[in-house]
Point group: C2
Chain length 358, copies 2
């Protein structure tokens, strides 16, 4: 059975403002010193497992030129542009329709386009394992991440004991839980029964579509229409119509929390969702004072700061725990404790109708 990958690349990513913009979100940025963008890394690390022609990218219409530019090897027909964003369930139905038309059944890995993974060999082993589990019966597999600290910014997966000997390291999912408070997060960590929800899934097209039919029947109707028109001239018109009718729905809430046969594996491959500028010091090398510095930067008496220069000198004097990001038309200077407030800047820009800066 063919192994395919569906990369979800429609995210807006306001959290990397001013580098990310609505026209240029996080997945198309390079946040590491090697210059590769997030989506380029996502594709590259998959290649030992999936053929380029079996990688599908679901994205927004406006990002298609960026994808063509950054990923010239991906066939044009594999880039699937959603007319409007309707969260992950319609995105997955669309990809499933195209893959179902092409291969009838196939294994489908669904992956975010903007996460980093440090240990790629371990990642590939985990994904191979997930594929084996997904091929069996009608299993739906969600890839969990072994927590290393009580993070309050992620959802968690509560799992049961392993069931049988031929499923080593694979656990039945008891329930999905939302982002917890710190106390709860500590409890989850100590229990040894919770994993971080990474948003990575593996299943057969046939398995997930049965669940669409059961839990999201309207979307299943859309799937059938999209499948029928895939590869024909009417495809984009059908997409347009289906998406205008789809409710906005996440795959987690719409299917995963309701379905049976949900399994998880505990991945430990240096996963990072790169959720804010704070991630830069985790994923890159810092200097002896704990600063991550890129570009033309002079630091004097400055520590634990993240400073990304652009085309001109940035001189940082006496700073601690500060993030500086310079771009051609905007400079962000933000206390590390206030990264969540960056969205207020964007709100302010929206109110002032300064579209060019958003």
């Amino acid at each position: 059975m063919k192994i395919t990958a569906v990369i979800m690349a429609g995210g807006k990513g306001e959290r990397f403002w001013p580098k990310s913009r609505s026209a240029y979100p996080k997945q198309f940025l390079s946040l590491t010193s090697d210059g590769e963008t997030m989506i380029q890394k996502t594709i590259k690390r998959l290649l030992p497992l999936v053929d380029t022609e079996d990688i599908f990218i679901v994205t927004n219409e406006s990002y298609v030129p960026l994808i063509n530019e950054q990923l010239p090897d991906i066939p044009a027909e594999n880039i699937l542009a959603e007319p409007v964003a309707r969260n992950t369930a319609p995105c997955i139905a669309l990809a499933a329709a195209v893959i179902n038309k092409k291969y009838d059944d196939a294994v489908m890995m669904v992956l975010p386009s903007d996460h980093l993974i440090k240990y790629e060999e371990l990642y590939l082993d985990t994904m191979r394992h997930a594929v084996r589990v997904a091929k069996k019966d009608e299993n739906l597999v969600t890839v969990g991440i072994t927590p290393t600290y009580p993070e309050t910014g992620y959802g968690y997966i509560n799992f049961c004991s392993a069931e049988s000997e031929d499923m080593v390291g694979v656990y039945k999912v008891k329930k999905f839980v939302e982002k917890p408070c710190l106390e709860k997060a500590k409890e989850y960590l100590n229990s040894g029964r919770y994993l971080w929800n990474s948003g990575m899934f593996v299943w057969k097209v046939s398995s997930i579509m049965k669940n669409f039919e059961r839990f999201l029947p309207a979307m299943y109707e859309g799937f059938l229409k999209m499948k029928e028109s895939a590869g024909t001239d009417s495809f984009s018109a059908v997409l347009e119509q289906c998406f205008s009718e789809f409710e906005s729905e996440s795959i987690d809430f719409g299917i995963m929390e309701k379905a049976d046969n949900i399994y998880t594996l505990s991945g430990s491959f240096g996963w990072d969702d790169v959720g804010s500028w704070l991630a830069l010091e985790k994923i890159n090398k810092t200097d002896e004072y704990g600063n991550y510095v890129a570009g033309d930067v002079i630091t004097i008496d400055t520590g634990k700061s993240i400073i990304c220069g652009n085309k001109k000198l940035i001189a940082a004097v006496g700073l601690e725990d500060v993030i500086v990001v310079d771009t051609d038309d905007a400079t962000l200077i933000c206390a590390k404790s206030h990264t969540q407030q960056v969205k207020k800047v964007i709100e302010n820009l929206k109110i002032c109708n300064r579209r060019e800066l958003i």
Copy 2:
């Protein structure tokens, strides 16, 4: 007797980097919201007291074009370019020579070009009083500032009781003291016998030259040569020669600390020497959170900060007590507690031979 003003405008001013540069020091910057530069303000506030043709500017050769641009009304022959900077004593000898040639004797007010004064009427009254004292006998007058807090960054003037009834508010100077430690500064403030040394002086040309003859005889020889050649073709050659022979000497140390008949007045006219970026919040209006903001700036959860934008948006999030100054080729981000460390940035640039940024 004519009243003349000598504006000392040769200062380098590294403390306002990155706005000030060696080619563009503080006196030529606008640091207030009205857009006037420091030297333009200095000249403008003098005009009720001195005719434009009696204002002389001593500066560095390289700043002459800037002065012509910013002060087009000052006659070309009143702009005196020092071949090399040799501190204030040679600067004053040069101006005295030119004024002595033009008017024989005259009152000479010697003034820095880069200080701010809030209450201009009070300033003019104080200067008129100083002129009256200077006209009498061979008095040398230094304008003191009534201290309002124990500043450790200024020199102080220790004065004696008033001598006679016709010299109300005028005091004989006991001694000049260097920048004190905080404890000493508090002592000075509490004693009621110390004023801040503002670097403003008033005397007759004849009075100061007698003191040059007595305490700085080599410089007095130079004065005579410069006076003789003033207005002739040989002037610049004579200047060149004199300045190459002059020792570097301040008027404070070379004459004021040694001479007799030194008087001071206590000025209270909102004087500020604008010694660092910190002055911006003293001399400009701040917002309700204590921020001084200029240019295209968005502040979120930010207080007590100084943010000077340039051509692009600056978004400040969660900052406190931070100074941000953006220019075309460099951005400074500096904790208020570290303004004295800005010079380390310049040292670093010198070591790396990045002349264009200094």
